[in-house]
């Protein structure tokens, strides 16, 4: 479980996050949603340690990440898998090398076992016969899948996904959502997904935290989100015609 307590973050005079707290349980997909510029990605970066919160703490299964020493920081980071918005695959490495990278760098696993694990993860994300392809030869959806395979290859306890559906067609986006849900349940990870995609909210939002102008305005799940009376949340959820019709 990941718990955040009173997280605030500002850049120079601009405060981006205001006193955010919440609990992200293990084995379920936790979503952080909100319009662009509300601080979702900043919160995610605070969670994974790419940014340091001004105030507040982040607890990974009770271990305080914000005030951790270098050893504990490295230890926790090595339990984290992250899918970046642009996949962030290493351009100079092929698919197999990209997925194998965390094992190469963080473990002493024998090469044969590493390759078995890589192939297993690629199979889990529905990719085969792409081991030797370079990232530039892959489609957007395939890159995301490889990114997910890399994120889970080291038996990560915590899976973070930053806008996993951005730039994907609706069909591929749904496949990626299903994959994240399936992996979370199968591998029992604590998964946090940052998104503004309503499909994801409806499909996989087992826990949802809604941010508005850097503040947590609402939390709940995909069943409750369609029935709230909060104006800002309703504006966000029912912003497109299809959702309005559903309402």
């Amino acid at each position: 479980m990941i718990e955040i307590k009173n997280i605030s973050k500002s850049f120079k005079d601009k405060q981006v996050l205001f006193n955010i707290s919440g609990k992200f349980e293990k084995g379920r997909t936790n979503l952080i949603i909100g319009a662009s510029g509300t601080g979702k990605s900043v919160l995610l970066k605070c969670l994974v340690g790419l940014l340091e919160p001004d105030v507040g703490s982040v607890l990974f299964d009770g271990r305080d990440f914000s005030s951790a020493n270098k050893k504990l920081t490295t230890e926790i980071r090595r339990e984290i898998g992250m899918l970046f918005q642009g996949s962030a695959l290493f351009d100079s490495k092929n698919v197999e090398e990209n997925v194998k990278f965390p094992l190469d760098i963080l473990t002493e696993t024998p090469e044969k076992e590493k390759l078995e694990k890589v192939n297993h993860c690629l199979e889990l994300v529905g990719l085969n016969k792409v081991n030797q392809k370079m990232p530039s030869e892959l489609s957007g959806g395939m890159k995301k899948r490889v990114g997910i395979a890399r994120a889970i290859v080291n038996d990560s306890k915590y899976l973070f996904c930053d806008e996993p559906n951005s730039g994907l067609d609706p069909l591929t986006a749904i496949k990626i959502d299903d994959l994240i849900l399936e992996l979370t349940q199968k591998l029992n990870t604590t998964t946090i997904v940052v998104t503004h995609d309503m499909n994801s909210v409806v499909e996989i939002g087992e826990y949802i935290m809604f941010l508005h102008e850097g503040k947590k305005l609402w939390e709940g799940n995909n069943k409750k989100i369609l029935k709230t009376n909060i104006k800002e949340l309703n504006e966000f959820v029912f912003s497109n015609k299809l959702m309005k019709k559903i309402k």
Binding site: V48, G49, L50, K70, T73, T74, E75, I76, R77, R78, I80, M82, F84, Q85, G86, A88, L89, F90, D91, F101, P102, D104, I105, L106, N154, F160
Partner: protein
């Protein structure tokens, strides 16, 4: 700089990365260094001959000038400028692209010290390869001067070799090597810094590459002056 030495990965990781960088930085620069050096030596020979024509000045002075200019200035400094243009811009561009496409963030999230993992092998490879490039450059420049001198009848082969040996100061070689180590460090560290701290998009990556080359060239020239003042 201190962060380069913290939280390092396994030795063999750095070993293979450094070998790869040596190939990229050293071997891949051989062609341009060779071309520049041969012509540099040839032009120095022709221009020295043109400026030193006179009955009182023996022809072997031409190769003596080529030798000293090559060892003291041309090979370490001009090749360092070329090195900054080729390798420095490449380092800054590569690291800048990795930064804006979140590849550096990906390393950090995995618990890898990205500055150490990405920058240290580049600095070590530059320190290993650039002095070798300077030695090759000096050899080729002197050879280029020989060819140009002999083929254009400016100087005979015997005179050229006599001039190369005449009043040779052996200290010029360690001086050139000291310069090459300093310049290699300057180019690799400035370019890595510019690339690693890129923020923004493709435009900023271009700016980082330009800044890497410009700042490296200025730093090389300042260091060149300081080293000449201190060591000669």
């Amino acid at each position: 700089m201190i962060s380069l030495l913290e939280r390092r990965e396994k030795f063999r990781t750095y070993f293979s990365l450094t070998i790869n960088e040596c190939i990229k930085i050293g071997y891949d620069s051989l062609f341009i260094v060779s071309i520049v050096s041969i012509f540099m030596g040839a032009v120095t020979t022709i221009q020295t001959a043109f400026n030193l024509v006179g009955p009182l000045i023996p022809d072997y002075v031409i190769s003596l000038v080529v030798r000293d200019m090559t060892l003291l200035e041309l090979s370490p400094t001009i090749i360092a400028i070329v090195f900054a243009g080729k390798v420095g811009s490449n380092i800054a561009g590569e690291l800048g692209t990795m930064r804006i496409t979140e590849q550096i963030d990906a390393l950090e999230v995995m618990g890898v010290n990205s500055s150490s993992y990405l920058v240290l092998p580049k600095i070590i490879a530059s320190l290993l390869m650039f002095p070798i490039l300077v030695i090759i450059s000096a050899t080729l420049a002197i050879g280029g001067g020989y060819l140009a001198g002999v083929l254009t009848d400016v100087i005979t082969g015997q005179e050229y070799i006599y001039g190369l040996r005449y009043e040779f100061n052996p200290f010029n070689i360690p001086f050139a090597l000291v310069k090459s180590y300093v310049f290699a460090f300057i180019v690799a560290s400035i370019s890595s810094f510019q690339g690693y701290y890129t923020s923004g998009g493709a435009l900023e990556v271009g700016k980082s590459s330009t800044n890497a080359v410009t700042n490296s060239c200025i730093a090389i020239l300042i260091a060149d002056y300081v080293l000449a003042q201190v060591l000669l």
